[in-house]
């Protein structure tokens, strides 16, 4: 282990005081005032989402700004955006585990939780977006009296399976990695409710060598399974667009382009949560500036891939020689949605260049701002892909614009509230830093010191 890695851990951190600090956060320390304020705001936004859903179910999708050239509006934009955010959680928990990166230890827990709740938000929209949401189960291959299977050639069916599998997988991975920590909480809880609650969730974990051996093996298997998920889920969602022949959707570059965009927004969100949570719960010595530095590098790397994809997309449109493909681009730069395109370029291409500087990457507030602009930029990217491609395609007679209505925005902001609410509850009920991963890191560092 190089000295650089050692800076991930504060001096004098032992198994005992780390475990006490993290478990006390859950079991004994009262919630900080910032937590309560955030909880109230997020609950109100969630309430707004529930109201929107009730209005949607009673009035139908007409309350959204959908119309016929632009039949996919904000709900699809939000789905792609949320599922993208989820991806960094999976990458951190799986790929960084397999590649044995020590800096994942203190951020993997809330990254996984973020992934879990982002998928919940992502999975909600396709169902809300259905004209008859109560019939969503038609996507399942079940023995129905219509004797019909889902249309296996439709990417919407692939999408359904991809999101469902991703949700199940992420829940499993999150729960697996929580098991040893739940047992710790069970042993340290002083109240009956906590003891029994955590005991039931811990599934009888006693921390025996057999348990740990099995745990390690299961985690590795799950991580190996998860690695392809990182590329396939958003890849499949991008096929919803690129399998169609709509100019602006129909690009072979879409799957890798969407995956890079997903990881870009995902790492931005992890950085955002890292900055917020560490200052909220006083964990600056565990989630260090070095962690932010690594996250910043990841953001920069995937941001550059996204910028490259933009150039390739434009090149493909020009090189295709097709009037309609070229027009989509001219329309993106000058048409009714041009502000979205240029803001996206500022957020995703221009501002990201600040991450070349080490001082920016290690500066909490700067990272917070860049995380926000990157997420905004990625949202705008999905917005302009979904909207500009369909609003003016092959039939000029059908051209029309779609402006999101107040309900579109309520559904979007509401999902932010739902995400925040779930995350806030999670960090109060579960340890927001993986105690067993941190203990392993401390042990490795100590071995290193003894050897050297």
């Amino acid at each position: 282990m190089t000295p650089r890695h050692r800076s991930l851990l504060p001096a004098g951190l032992t198994h005992a005081n780390l475990t006490r600090r993290i478990s006390d956060l859950v079991l004994h320390r009262p919630s900080p005032p910032g937590w309560w304020i955030a909880l109230v705001i997020c609950s109100l936004l969630t309430l707004m989402l529930l109201v929107t859903m009730s209005v949607l179910f009673s009035h139908g999708v007409g309350i959204f700004g959908l119309n016929i050239p632009v039949a996919w509006g904000l709900p699809i934009v939000n789905t792609i955006w949320w599922i993208g955010i989820a991806h960094a959680g999976t990458l951190i928990s799986a790929v960084l585990l397999l590649t044995r990166q020590p800096w994942r230890a203190s951020i993997n827990r809330f990254a996984e939780a973020m992934a879990m709740f982002a998928i919940v938000c992502a999975g909600m929209y396709p169902l809300l977006h259905l004209g008859r949401p109560e019939l969503f189960y038609y996507l399942l291959p079940y023995p129905d009296t219509m004797d019909l299977w889902p249309q296996w050639r439709s990417p919407l069916v692939w999408d359904f399976f991809a999101i469902t599998m991703y949700l199940l997988f992420t829940a499993l991975f999150l729960y697996m990695s929580l098991l040893p920590d739940l047992a710790t909480l069970r042993d340290r809880a002083t109240r009956r409710v906590g003891q029994y609650g955590y005991a039931i969730l811990a599934l009888g974990w006693r921390g025996s060598a057999t348990h740990w051996a099995r745990y390690e093996k299961a985690t590795l298997i799950l991580a190996a399974l998860a690695t392809p998920i990182v590329v396939t889920v958003t890849g499949i969602i991008s096929l919803d667009l690129s399998v169609s022949i709509v100019p602006g959707y129909h690009f072979t570059i879409f799957p890798p382009y969407f995956v890079a965009g997903a990881l870009f927004s995902g790492f931005s969100t992890v950085a955002l949560l890292a900055v917020l949570l560490r200052s909220l719960f006083g964990l600056r010595d565990l989630v260090t500036d070095t962690h932010l530095d690594y996250l910043g590098r990841m953001m920069l790397f995937f941001g550059l891939i996204v910028a490259y994809a933009y150039t390739q997309e434009m090149f493909t449109a020009w090189y295709s020689g097709e009037d309609y493909y070229r027009h989509v681009y001219v329309d993106r730069w000058t048409g009714p949605y041009a502000p979205a395109w240029w803001s996206m370029i500022v957020c995703n291409v221009v501002l990201v260049q600040l991450l070349w500087f080490r001082r920016v990457r290690r500066h909490g507030p700067a990272m917070l701002c860049l995380a926000l602009t990157s997420n905004l930029g990625m949202w705008l990217e999905r917005f302009q892909i979904v909207f500009t491609s369909t609003h003016a395609d092959y039939q000029p007679a059908n051209w029309d614009v779609n402006w999101p209505t107040v309900w579109d925005w309520a559904a979007y902001l509401g999902s932010l509230g739902l995400f925040g609410l779930l995350l806030l509850l999670f960090v109060r009920l579960m340890p927001l830093i993986s105690m067993h991963d941190m203990r392993a890191l401390i042990a490795r560092q100590r071995e290193e010191r003894d050897d050297g």
Binding site: D144, T145, Q195, Y196, G204
Partner: protein, 217 residues
């Protein structure tokens, strides 16, 4: 520290896990059975009618042809219900004072049609043409069952999409020659001409039977 749970809890955990699985399977099986049961499909549905008309008596007993009353079957999408005058071809001579038939006589006197209750009710998003079926070898019995044995008319078949597709996917075993369309108790498989020959004679192209727009227009 005393253990939180007693030994029993281990078995309880297993029971709960197995119970959840069993419950899910039970719900699936229950849903499967209910969705195919007469409760859902209305097989056997025999609503009360203004006149207790017996197909058993008129078809099985007297041997009336279906088309005598349902005259639109060959020429129209709907087979149609007979006007009261059709009833009166016989009932102006027969059973003149029968109490059972008083709604028919009133209908004639007041010139208001009888209001029968529909037995075979397809969803509004399906398009079914009697003409297309009757002129292409599908017998009345195939969808309506043995009406010659129905004292009160009831729904004999489930009318689910699966049931429609059973025949649309493989029509030949169900086809009859033109003279047997209205015959009751005729088995296309056993009694008649081979389906492969009929499918050629009627010039049926099975592929077109499976287009969505064949039934959903």
């Amino acid at each position: 520290m005393a253990p939180l749970f007693r030994r029993r809890a281990n078995s309880l955990a297993v029971v709960i896990l197995v119970g959840i699985l069993a419950l899910l399977m039970a719900i699936s099986v229950f849903a499967y059975v209910v969705y195919r049961s007469p409760y859902q499909t209305d097989v056997g549905y025999a609503p009360a009618q203004p006149v207790p008309f017996s197909h058993q008596h008129h078809v099985g007993g007297l041997g009336l042809d279906c088309r005598y009353c349902h005259s639109g079957a060959e020429t129209s999408d709907v087979a149609g219900l007979p006007p009261t005058l059709t009833c009166m071809t016989c009932h102006s001579q027969e059973w003149l004072n029968a109490e059972m038939l008083s709604p028919v006589r009133q209908s004639l006197a007041n010139r208001t049609p009888l209001r029968w209750t529909r037995v075979h009710d397809l969803p509004d998003y399906t398009y079914f043409s009697h003409r297309a079926h009757v002129n292409n070898g599908v017998g009345c019995e195939s969808c309506h069952g043995r009406v010659d044995r129905m004292p009160m008319t009831f729904q004999a078949k489930p009318l689910t999409m699966q049931w429609c597709l059973d025949c649309h996917r493989n029509p030949s075993p169900h086809l009859r020659p033109p003279e047997k369309i209205t015959a009751m108790g005729y088995s296309p498989r056993r009694d008649g001409i081979a389906g492969e020959r009929l499918i050629k004679r009627y010039r049926i192209h099975p592929d077109t039977l499976l287009e969505c727009a064949t039934c959903h227009r």
